[in-house]
Symmetry: C2
Subunit: 351 residues, 2 copies
Amino acid sequence: MARKASKVTIYDIASAAGVSRGTVSRAFNGNTDINSETRQRIFDTAKRLHYVPNMNARGLAKGTTECIGVIMPDVLNPYISELVGVIEKSARAVGFSTHIALTHNDAELQQKLLLRMASGQVDGIIITPCESDESVRQINMINAKIPIVSLKFREKLECDTVMGADSDGIRMIMEHLHSAGAKKVAFLTISGQDWTHLERHEAYLSTAKKLGLDYTKTESIDYSEGWEEMEKDVIRIVASLFKRKDNAPDAILAYDDILALVVINALRHSGIKVPDDVLVAGFDNIRLASVANMTLTSASVESSDIARFAIDILTQRLNSSSSSKVRHVRISPRLYVRDSTSRETLKGKGK
Amino acid sequence: MARKASKVTIYDIASAAGVSRGTVSRAFNGNTDINSETRQRIFDTAKRLHYVPNMNARGLAKGTTECIGVIMPDVLNPYISELVGVIEKSARAVGFSTHIALTHNDAELQQKLLLRMASGQVDGIIITPCESDESVRQINMINAKIPIVSLKFREKLECDTVMGADSDGIRMIMEHLHSAGAKKVAFLTISGQDWTHLERHEAYLSTAKKLGLDYTKTESIDYSEGWEEMEKDVIRIVASLFKRKDNAPDAILAYDDILALVVINALRHSGIKVPDDVLVAGFDNIRLASVANMTLTSASVESSDIARFAIDILTQRLNSSSSSKVRHVRISPRLYVRDSTSRETLKGKGK
DNA sequence: GCATCTCGTCCGCTCGGGTTC
DNA sequence: GGAACCCGAGCGGACGAGATG
């Protein structure tokens, strides 16, 4: 356990192998200007001496890291988890390692992470930003130094963005609910998630209007106090929604799948049956949605698509010094119809 | 969008502020030997010039990073997601930033990540290691350079470890199932997860024996082909388990909650009712277990406990050069009884 | 003598011009 | 005239001894 500071440097292995440090360096990097025998000898002694090239030094000298930063609010939401996983794989596929960091939706922390990463830690950044003006400013500033791809869009944002067309997804779900017989769809959302909320909410309202649904009702759930409180909040809201039978919704559209699951639970708690008494739909199509009896109707953009685009754009930026125009990709989501909105059968449709 | 390589260095801000680079350095680090006016002036010009200290250079010169590495197989499993989140928070609470990386259970990749991190990227590492002998060797080697805390235990592992007493958890669940009337408990597990599987499986067998349950049956699910195939595999196995009514289990203990949810789904698919026909229990108590109708009986160690211990140990290692003895912490899990094993009532007990 | 600041070095590695056979 | 290799100069900052008032 004696923690040897074992500073085995390029010097050590150079002298041990009887060459200069430059040669050792070349052995580990380019394939040029080096005899394969020498290279092998260097590798051998390197292994023998447990040599590990120092990334800091390399990064300092080279000015590049072959590494991209991934900044996410958290990783609790399965949707983000999946996203992070595929981003990592995609990045690795193109020779980049990945440096993941979490903001917990704290703009100050996000600031620190951006600065830290932009200061030689990574070559580019993929971020799901905090939703505040402050956040936009931060990103714009850092984007002037290294390329950033944001997974949320905002007018004033000056970096590339990649995201799903949430409004289409909401529209699809609303239409589905409508064709399933729903006349009164309520929208349950999370307070604080302004940008995303706004888009989804607007889509909810406009689609309701387009479908001739007079009833609209939006309820915000407070998630700032943690999961427990949030669950209680949902129960409270559900209870109030169904207090007057004649004015109760016959369908609930939740901000995302997690919330939808919580809502279903709250409904059961109140003795309201899904989908018999009320239809419930979520958004994001998290993997568990298909197994978490009751399976959940949902919509989402393939996270692999998001990841692919994000990586593509980032690598393009990194490879070409040409400061081409900013790109904003919108990917169409897909609708997944499952038990929570299927009255006729209990065999899950969709996947 | 013109990506200014904007190399604003300590030199620039030094000359702009009319001081030497050493002073600038001190302004950003120690509070010693510097006039508060000067410091303020330095901060101001630093901000004006968008100066960001280069982490690579700092790390190189200082030999320390105030950053810990977190290496996980992936982040899809909610249990791990939660863990990562709390580890990050705990680390931040003690002044460390966090560098998260994913192995996807690939020992080779793990090797690269370990090397990279150990080469000046981080001061210490918390890892949920791949389960192979190769992995053990890697960790031991790196542990000689910087402290590692493993979240899985293995005899030959020479680093600190922190983990839950899985066997106790399994025992608790088994006893619960037994007292709920189960006589024939089957164990469904994931193939490939050797270490963890072995411990849980052994506990399953020994507890069954202790409880006088003659029937034992272990089925391995193949998860190497991805989620879809895994689901099919579970359906197939469930079908075969219940082919002969007289020899079918009356309870299923799943390797973890995710698998349990999949199993419940498969059971429903086969027309078998939970908990009426068969009890189902998982392990890990993922948050969704409490809302994913049917709610799930489960057991787990608080991930915050794990995180706290891991961080504690790591910081101790980092703060004291004394190479004290290796520690192996075992934290008792807690049992969560919910609907999937409650016949008498549908009101969820436990949380 | 003391608070404040400067300067030279080094951290470990990359890079490109120069050298050797 | 190459192929193979050496060397010196940084990359951006930290640090400690010495300078300045």
